[in-house]
Symmetry: C2
Subunit: 322 residues, 2 copies
């Protein structure tokens, strides 16, 4: 009944570059969406004003706020318990503690819940994607950074402070580890984020005389898409980059499995779109590294969320519980 | 009301050497207990017979099976979902899949639940010990092996197959790691178990000419108690052993915190009784290695379960839910 009366949720994904938001129905269709540039605003009040100027007409276009169960927001350094963004290094207006969920609840009159972007992706995957029906899985987002959303017994793991699930910052190389953006050394993110992959490309290109299509691209600009395109054409260096990256992910996943023994680890983001070129080395490394009792039990799967809508969809799924 | 009618539970701890069991009341008092030698029996039927010969009189002595809510069993390689012990390397009669919970339910007429020993310790700590009131914590058992029981949102983490929480087998040294009993290299257990500490002692004693009280003990027999006794007397080698062991634990704990952001990590077993000699190096290493957003948030605590009763108490706590 409530679903007929309130058939929609709002989803919002706050990224370092764009903030995207949309109206989503119970089947996971994005009915309408819009966006603003995140970094045009230095004050959070101006940022919220700019969103509301576009969001409120969207809400009105489908019948007004009474039609909405809630809004879910995915944001870097988002805290579910407090509805805040805390000390987000990539957000000009988010470097302190910003009570964003409350600000939106007050402005649009729709209850708003907020969590970090990888948790939002995990909820989206559980509601609409590859994790439907799963009670125990781990979502790994491979993008500018490496994030994670962990689901145990059907519930997101927020931890005692709301910040659990920072699997991009487990240490995979204790000796001579690469410097990570967090200030420590050897984090998974320093190897498997977009910049991590570009750095691996640079290192492998410099240490070899092997011809490669990747030599035509400025090394710091190499993306996982470039590596994929080269690998498809049989480029050996490209395959070596995937092998190295996949082998570190497999090592890390073996430890994650020892922690929560998930049914699946689901990969989201650029790297995850490289098909067998990244999946095969991950699986090989996982098989070599995982504890015997877990061998062959945990599936490694690509996300099934539709690309353009994934971030909004993931966040919106949180809106049903807001 | 039910508590008055069924005021007791049974707890049983199956160890490689002894199997201890007892009657426990709702306040966590062990009313009566007994034990048998685990390894005197090659067939599980004979083992269960031997337990029942001592357990049934205990049950009768407090009024019979109607007085019992349930029995909880902690066992190596115990599977909560299936009530089985599976492929336990240290149990003569447990090397295949043994449906032990069902066998006891049938024999004593009291519903029986079973889980691994570290999970049982975690439930015991949550019910009677240092984790009372905590919804998110990690129990680390430092004994013959290194085990763990993880609690998230107030629930034990069993994972999709019932075997989650093998934190003794995360890799802490990927290069030149010590061989672990599991067949892999560099596991936490290879450094922080009883044999791991003895091996560290041997390595440090061999690489140094420093005088030490520990030189009077055959190196392979050195226990954490010996190291503690020496450290108390100002022995530098003993302190170095604790520093090394604590520094690895702190590194590992930093990664565990990135996973589930627990309110506390609780240590149980021989090493945990070494007070500041082990706690200080763990805390120092944790502070140096933990991600900034978690710094200073997670307490490192010793178990508060009474020593002699701890295993039975921990297992018995599971009996209330059996």
């Amino acid at each position: 009944m409530a679903e007929f009366e309130k058939p929609y949720v709002l989803g919002m994904d706050i990224g370092g570059t764009n903030t995207v938001f949309g109206v989503v129905d119970a089947r996971g269709n994005v009915i309408a969406s819009d966006s603003i540039k995140t970094q045009l605003y230095t004050k959070v009040e101006d940022y919220v004003d700019a969103i509301c100027a576009k969001l409120i007409p969207l809400i009105e276009s489908v019948g007004g706020k009474e039609k909405f169960r809630g809004m879910g927001v995915g944001a870097p350094n988002g805290n579910y318990y407090k509805g805040t963004i805390e000390f987000a290094p990539n957000l000009i207006w988010g470097k302190e503690v910003v009570p964003l969920a409350q600000m939106f609840t007050d402005r649009i009159g729709i209850p708003t819940a907020l969590t970090n972007d990888a948790n939002a992706a995990a909820i989206g995957e559980m509601t609409y994607g590859a994790a439907r029906g799963m009670k125990n899985f781990i979502m790994i987002t491979l993008g500018t950074g490496v994030g994670s959303g962990i689901v145990v017994n059907g519930q997101l793991v927020y931890g005692h402070d709301g910040f659990a699930g920072e699997l991009g910052h487990v240490i995979v190389r204790r000796e001579n580890g690469r410097l990570c953006g967090c200030g420590r050394k050897g984090c998974l993110e320093a190897y498997c984020s977009a910049t991590g992959v570009a750095r691996t490309a640079r290192e492998i290109l410099c240490s070899s005389a092997e011809p490669s299509l990747l030599r035509n691209i400025p090394a710091e600009n190499i993306t996982s898409k470039d590596v994929y395109d080269a690998a498809v054409q049989g480029d050996k260096i490209a395959q070596e980059i995937f092998n190295f990256t996949g082998s570190l992910l497999g090592e890390a996943f073996a430890d994650f499995i020892a922690f929560s023994s998930p049914e699946a680890i689901i990969l989201f983001g650029g790297l995850a779109k490289s098909g067998k070129y990244i999946m095969d080395p991950i699986q090989k490394s996982l098989d070599e590294n995982v504890l015997k009792i877990f061998k062959g039990k945990c599936k490694i799967l690509p996300s099934e969320l539709k690309d353009a809508d994934a971030a909004v969809l993931g966040a919106s799924a949180l809106g049903w519980e807001a």
